[in-house]
Amino acid sequence: MQSIRIGKEPQVQYLLRVADTCLILAQRITEWCGHAPILEEDIALSNMGLDLLGQARGVLTRAGQVDGRGHDEDQLAFLRGEGDFLNVTMAELPRGDFAFTCLRNAMLATLLKLLWQRLESSSDRELAAIAGKAIKEARYHQQHAADWVVRLGDGTEQSRQRMQAALAQLWPYTAELFDTDAVDDAAQASGLGPRWADLEAEWRQEMAQILAAADLAVPEGDIKFRSTGKRGVHSEHMGFILAEMQYLQRSYPGGAW
């Protein structure tokens, strides 16, 4: 089945970066359903995935309206090709072990919390309304993920080793979060939302607080590696997650239940 295309207007791209980051992270963390180390965390990850999916649905619907080609949230989620997904690469990385999942959740929940805070005053009233709800959820997600980063980082020898490995693996992907471009500039100028670069100082401060409490050192030095998911150029993992997520609609177009 042919993929639908989306416009290159910066407003649409900006909205899709937000929506797709929530959507792909939701898809990744709900992979833990039935597999998490304890039942309570199984439930927690599914709940957070549900919140993220709800946020993604709202923003995708809005992106479809702004795009003006008549695509609804389902079409945008299930019928776009890889190059038209604009989530940060960090969200699509395989779920890894529990330490990796918790640290990624902490990093992205911190980013999303700071983003929703500013989007509450977006010039787009629908986006502002979605943000008003999402901020409460993101705050809770951040606290929960941070608690686990501290518990594992400052835990046993093995949990600490795994959290350190997760940090080394994830850190290079943090640079992309704050890369800025014409899409961000247009959003800033129109009042749609902040440049993601403007979230960096606070993000670093909050992550430093979490890592310090976990007795983990913030990695030093410039990051040379650049992931580019926000521009639609993804890691090798993206095709596989879409294949699984889109399988039903691709195989049974328009299928509903």
Binding site: E40, I43, A44, N47, M48, G49, L50, D51, L52, L53, G54, Q55, R57, G58, R125, E126, A128, A129, I130, G132, K133, A134, K136, E137, R139, Y140, Q142, Q143, H144, A146, D147, V150, E206, Q209, I210, A213
Partner: protein, 174 residues
Amino acid sequence: MSVLQQRQPSARVQAAWQVLETVQDPEIPVISLCDLGVVREVRENGALLEVVLTPTYSGCPATEVIAHDVKTALQAARLGPIATVLQRAPAWTTDWISAKGKAALRDYGIAPPGPVPLEGAKPICITRRRQPPVPCPRCASTHTERIAPFGSTPCKALYRCLACHEPFEHFKPI
């Protein structure tokens, strides 16, 4: 315009509110949608009766069931045609749950939410927070502890009472 100066709602709108008082939340079937605070407004728009609903959580799966239940109940009471309108702002808060609703939650074994803490009153510490005490819905002891921050629905957390040893759910204040 103050509330007092507003026009008296029509008989149809009043009848609709009475019906909605009897429509229970699909996941916590002891509290009505009105007491939960998700029904924000009932208004007539021409021949159409519009019910304005505000979702509790972004991804709450009950949202669509709630809209369906509202329509079904009002149509059964011959108050149709009905439309439900999703209104996101202002965001739903547990402060909108009525006193009657909170009492019903407690009777059902769910510790009701306390007032939502004011954000921005002091710098938020991400990793070291004190949980306000949650009284046990069965024995009222505040000697309780949180087992898990998430529960069977997005709106609840799991607790246990250290006095009567019963586990219970807490409706999180948001």
